[in-house]
Subunit: 388 residues, 2 copies
C-alpha cells in the first residue's frame, strides 16, 4: 500500500446555519480545503453524512455535492454510520489513495439538523441504535449514555461529579477555537447544578446537535511532497463494529469496536499508546469519553475519571483530549464529527492550535463512534518533516 | 494494485418478503455466498442499501448486518447512492482488496421496501432525485423517465411501441430464472395495451419495487486460486456522477455518468466495447435501457430501439441484456440491484445461466445507475481459466 497524506483542511463554523443548505456548507468546506488545487485534479469525493435523507429529504448526497462543488463527473460516495460516518469516509479515501487508484481525493463531512424541531431530530438520530429493541422503547442515545454512566458509577464507586472534568476541559479548549459553537469556559459547579437532561446527565454534560461541514484533501506521497512541510501522514486506519443493542454485549462498559479499531490502527502505525501525544475521541458526554479512553487502552478500567480529575486530559497532560472543544463545546456534528476531529489534530501537528496547543505534538489519534460504539473508526496521524 | 476476484455469490428470491427483515434477508444471502468460508476470515463488509433508514427506520445497517451474520467486530460500511448503491459497495470492496488491506471481503445489497404503502415508498425513492427542484414538484423517478421517453420519441421519430422489446426480452429471460419476481413471458401487444402509469410508460414497461438481498465474496488472487476455476476477475471498476436535476444537463438524453464510468472501466480492463459479450444495465423501463446502451457506447445514438427490435439484446444477439430478467422481470431492488447484476453475470461467465445462457461468454459488463443516471457504477468481469 502507498503512503497517504492529508494536504488540506477546512471547516465551517459550527452553529445553527438556518440560512444555509447542507450542500452549500459542504462546498464551503471543500473549496477551503482544496485551496488553489483545481477541482479536476481531485479524483473522488467521499461524503460523510448521517441525517440528510431523514431530515433534509436529500439522498445521493455524494453526487449532489460533487456537482455543486465543481467536481463534475467525479466518483462520489455517501457513507452512513451514525456518528462514525466521518471516520468511515476518511477510511475509504485512505484506501482509494493507498491502493493507487487515485493520487488525490477529498472527504467532506456535513450535517444540517437544526431545521427541524428537537423531537424530529431525536427520532432521526435514534435510527443509529437498534430500532427493533431500543429505539422502539424511546431509548435515545442520550438516555443510553445516561444508563451507562449510572452503571459506571455503581461499578467503580464514583459520583456523577467525577465526570465534570470532561466538559470543563472541552469548554476551556473550545473557548479558544474559531469554529467552536460554545467559546466560553464552564466550571464543575455549573455542570453539577445544570438542569438534568437524562439523570445523571446534566445539560452541561450533553453535546448540542449543530450544523457544519468539514473537509480534508487526501493525497499520495509525491503530491504531499510538492505541497511541503510539515507532512501529515495517515499512519494508521481501522474500522470495527459491535452490536447495535447494549443488551447484546457481554459487558456494556466495554466498547469493543473502539478497542479493536484502536489496536489495529496503532499496530498499523507501528506505535504504542504512549507514543500518542494528542487525542480526539467521541465525547458527547463525560461517560462517553471515559469509556472510549478505557476501551481504547489510554486509561485503565475504572481510572478515566481519576485521570481527568488529575489533569491528564488537559493540553499539558499525558493524554490531551478535546483540544478543539470536543463534541461538547465544538458542537455535535454527528456524521461530520470524524472530519472535524481530523482537522483539529492536523492543527495540533502543525503547531497552529493556539491556547490549546499540545507542545511538540507529532503523533495524534482520532476516534469516532456511531451509536453507542456500534461502529468505531480510528485514525493515526504523524507529522513528518519533508526531508525525512 | 492487486488483482481482485469474485469467489462466491448468493441471492434470495425477489418478491414481497413481508415476514422477513432486511437484516435476515442480508444474512441469508451472505451465508449462501460465503459457503464453507468461516466468517472470521472475511475482513470487511460493504452493505448497499438505499431505503432502510427512510422506510425501516434502521441506520448503521453495516454494523447491524455484520453482527447478525456472525462477523462480530468486523469493519462494516453502509453505502447509499440510490439505485447505484450496489455498484458503489462493490467498488469499495474492490479497492479494499486491490489495495492489499484485505484478502477477503463481502458485499451485500439489500432492500426491504414493501412493508409500506406505495405513496410512502415513492416519497422515499424520490429522495434520490433533486429534492429542491424535482421531488418538491412531485416528479417521481418514473415520471422523469417518462418525460425522457417522450423526448426520445420526439428527437428520433420513434413510437412508444419501439421500446417494447426491452421488457419483452427481460420477461423472456426472467421466465427461466429461479430468483426473478416475474417468471413469465409477455408480448409486445401486452406491453402496449397495459394501463398507463406515466404516459407513455405502461405498467408492463415499469419495474416493480421488491424485497431481496444479494451477496458476493471478493478475494485476492491467491485465495481465488485456492477456490478454483473458473476464476472471475473484476477487470474494470469505475464510478462517475452527473447532476441530480435533469434541467442542469446540456442534453437530457445523454447519461454522462454512464458514459464516463463505462469508458473508464473498459480502459481499466484493456477492453473495447466489442469484447463485451453480455451486459446488465439499469433497465426499469425500456427508455432507461436505451439511454444506458447509447451513453455507454454499445449503441449509436438513436439506434438502441432498432437494435432491440432486431434481436441484438437477446441472449443470442450481439449485446445480450437483462439475461436474469433485468429490473423489470427480476424485480427492482434499488440499492441491491447492482449486486443482483453481478450475480447474474457470474452465472453467465460460469456457463450456468440455463435458457438465457450467452454461449461462450467470458467477458461481461454490469452498470447500475442511481436516480436518472446521477451516479453510475460500471464493473467488468472476465472469466479466466485457473491455469492462466
Amino acid at each position: 500500500m502507498q503512503n497517504v497524506y492529508i494536504i488540506g483542511t477546512s471547516a465551517t463554523p459550527v452553529g445553527e446555519h438556518w440560512e444555509r443548505t447542507a450542500i452549500s456548507l459542504a462546498c464551503e468546506a471543500l473549496n477551503g480545503a482544496r485551496g488553489a488545487l483545481p477541482t479536476e485534479r481531485i479524483g473522488a469525493l467521499y461524503v460523510a453524512n448521517a441525517l440528510s435523507a431523514a431530515i433534509g429529504g436529500q439522498a445521493q448526497l455524494g453526487a449532489a455535492i460533487a456537482a455543486a462543488a465543481g467536481m463534475h463527473g467525479a466518483e462520489a460516495h455517501t457513507i452512513e454510520a451514525g456518528g462514525a460516518s466521518g471516520g468511515l469516509a476518511l477510511r475509504q479515501a485512505y484506501l482509494a489513495v493507498a491502493s493507487g487508484a487515485y493520487d488525490l481525493v477529498a472527504v467532506v463531512g456535513v450535517e444540517k439538523t437544526t431545521d427541524v424541531l428537537d423531537d424530529r431530530r431525536e427520532a432521526a438520530q435514534i435510527q443509529a441504535a437498534d430500532v427493533d429493541w431500543e429505539a422502539v422503547q424511546g431509548a435515545t442515545t442520550t438516555a443510553q449514555w445516561a444508563m451507562l454512566m449510572r452503571r459506571y458509577m455503581h461499578v467503580y464507586g464514583v459520583s456523577s461529579d467525577a465526570f465534570a472534568p470532561f466538559p470543563v476541559n472541552a469548554h476551556a479548549n473550545g473557548a479558544a477555537s474559531k469554529t467552536a459553537m460554545y467559546r466560553f469556559a464552564i466550571s464543575a459547579d455549573k455542570v453539577r447544578s445544570a438542569a438534568l437532561v437524562a439523570d445523571p446527565l446534566t445539560l452541561l454534560d450533553c453535546s448540542t446537535s449543530a450544523d457544519g461541514a468539514a473537509a480534508v484533501i487526501v493525497a499520495s506521497e509525491s503530491i504531499a511532497r510538492e505541497i511541503g512541510s510539515p507532512l501529515i501522514r495517515i499512519a494508521g486506519s481501522a474500522v470495527a463494529t459491535d452490536t447495535l443493542a447494549l443488551h447484546s454485549r457481554p459487558d456494556p462498559l466495554w466498547l469493543s469496536a473502539a478497542a479493536r479499531s484502536a489496536a489495529v490502527a496503532l499496530q498499523g502505525a507501528h506505535l504504542t499508546h504512549s507514543d500518542i501525544q494528542v487525542l480526539d475521541l467521541t465525547d458527547p458526554h463525560g461517560i462517553a469519553a471515559a469509556l472510549a479512553l478505557e476501551s481504547s487502552g489510554f486509561a485503565e478500567r475504572g481510572s478515566a475519571t481519576h485521570m481527568a480529575r488529575d489533569g491528564a486530559i488537559r493540553p499539558d497532560g499525558a493524554i490531551p483530549l478535546a483540544t478543539g472543544g470536543g463534541c461538547k463545546a465544538r458542537g455535535d456534528l454527528i456524521g461530520a464529527n470524524g472530519v472535524y476531529q481530523i482537522i483539529e489534530l492536523v492543527r495540533q501537528l502543525r503547531g497552529e492550535a493556539g491556547a490549546a496547543q499540545v507542545q511538540g505534538a507529532k503523533r495524534a489519534l482520532a476516534q469516532c463512534l456511531g451509536g453507542i460504539g456500534t461502529t468505531a473508526a480510528t485514525h493515526i496521524l504523524i507529522a513528518e518533516s519533508s526531508s525525512s
